[in-house]
Amino acid sequence: MLVALILLWALLSTMSDLVASPAESLSALMDRFADGSIYRHLNATMQAVAIGFLIAAAVGFPLGYAIGRSKFLGAVFDPLVAGAFAIPRVIFFPILLQIFGVGVGAQSAMAALAAVFPIMVSTTAGVRAINPLLPKLARSLSLSPLQTVTKIYVPAMAPSLMVGIRIGFSIAFINVIIAEFFAARAGLGLLALRAYGMLDLPTMYGIIVLLAAIALIGNLALWAVERRLGNKQL
């Protein structure tokens, strides 16, 4: 599959001057690594993804859990969350720029804002899918509130938590790149767009390949963890 894609890419590059060949792109990318100029951008992007994801997780997991467990919160937040899903989060980016200024802060905030929803939704669904007897069992065995969470809720919800983490990571990554396309001081998205502006096609294609590779590897790793958990649960 991957080989076929690269072959197709190579074929296209021979037919058009607007497509850099895989070899050119790779060497342009290597040059960027060799002279160290890429690290600033790579760091900016990864930092924004990490900060954004962590904020989304710190807000999304507890909030999703609370919405799932409380009837009242469920009644209040379910329609809000469902409605908010229809709004493209990226339209708020200009406001985030106003607040945080151009930089990693705005990128991170964008990622957090976007990733918090899938994390919250899958956590809520996970709590609601828990066998209602398990809390009763926990009470009858006199589990402490902490034990109830760590020994019952978290393991019972592990698959949906992992889905939340995986989707949250993807969404955070996507939104950081989109945000970098709009306005950024550093970042791989910015770098790709700059290369486009300067018609430095090998670099542009090289960065795109790098981004795709990061997304793919990150997602596959999380997916593998998810599957292992799933197997354990059967």
């Binding site: 007897l133 009763k136 006199s142 393991p155 059967l234």
Partner: protein, 275 residues
Amino acid sequence: MSHISPIDSVGHDSDVVFDNIGMTFGTGTGSTQAVANVSGAIPEGKFVSVVGPSGCGKSTLLDMVGGLLKPTQGTVSINGETVTGPRKDTAMVFQEDSTLHWRTVLDNVAFGLEVKGLPKTERYESARRMIELVGLSGFEDHRPGQLSGGMKQRVAIARALAMEPRVLLMDEPFGALDQQTRQFIGRELLHIWEKTRNRVLFITHDIQEAVYLSDEVWVMSARPSVVKEVVTIDLPRPRPEGTHSLPRFRELEDHLWALVKVEAEKTLGPGARLA
């Protein structure tokens, strides 16, 4: 205090004692009285079943002994101590599957002991004993997803037994199983119980099951429910296969049926027909 409680007439301090308990859910005009004025005792080493029409508060009764519900009237006491919350010396088995799907059978059975803080070797040792007792040897490393419904219930029973409870509370534990599995596992429960002899409070819809297993069957009335009659099951123990066809078994079963039928008709309204 010179107050003479019905405990004196119905049981000893070491028993599980229901002292005129009642349970009302909700308040004001929307309230329902589920249980009214139940008194009785489960003596040491006795197997007591509770039968009665659907919704008569059988499970409520059990939850009150388990400390999951507080009676709105009267008290439940075990060994002379009023039950105020879940206790270490009671253990529950529920009707539906309550196994922890991410744990192996061994870790499921050891779960209660783990929560209690028992070291790994000790809890595994007693979990293995219980697994053998319920006939699941060889399945220690399986996960509940790989087991049948009947086997999962055995895991839940083993988990409860591992706690070495003075009182075993079983809320229609075989209710979700098919008839064949149900009879088979009922026989096994009896074998196990004959070895452990803890007190059992067993809720069931199945009158035959109640007669076969119990020393006493309490018949609950329709809501607000009271114990309408305590039927002593005077069949000799151990009860081998074939007990079901003893004339005395039939007599007891018919008698209980008649009692339950009257109550069920009250719940379902006049003219309701039962099988």
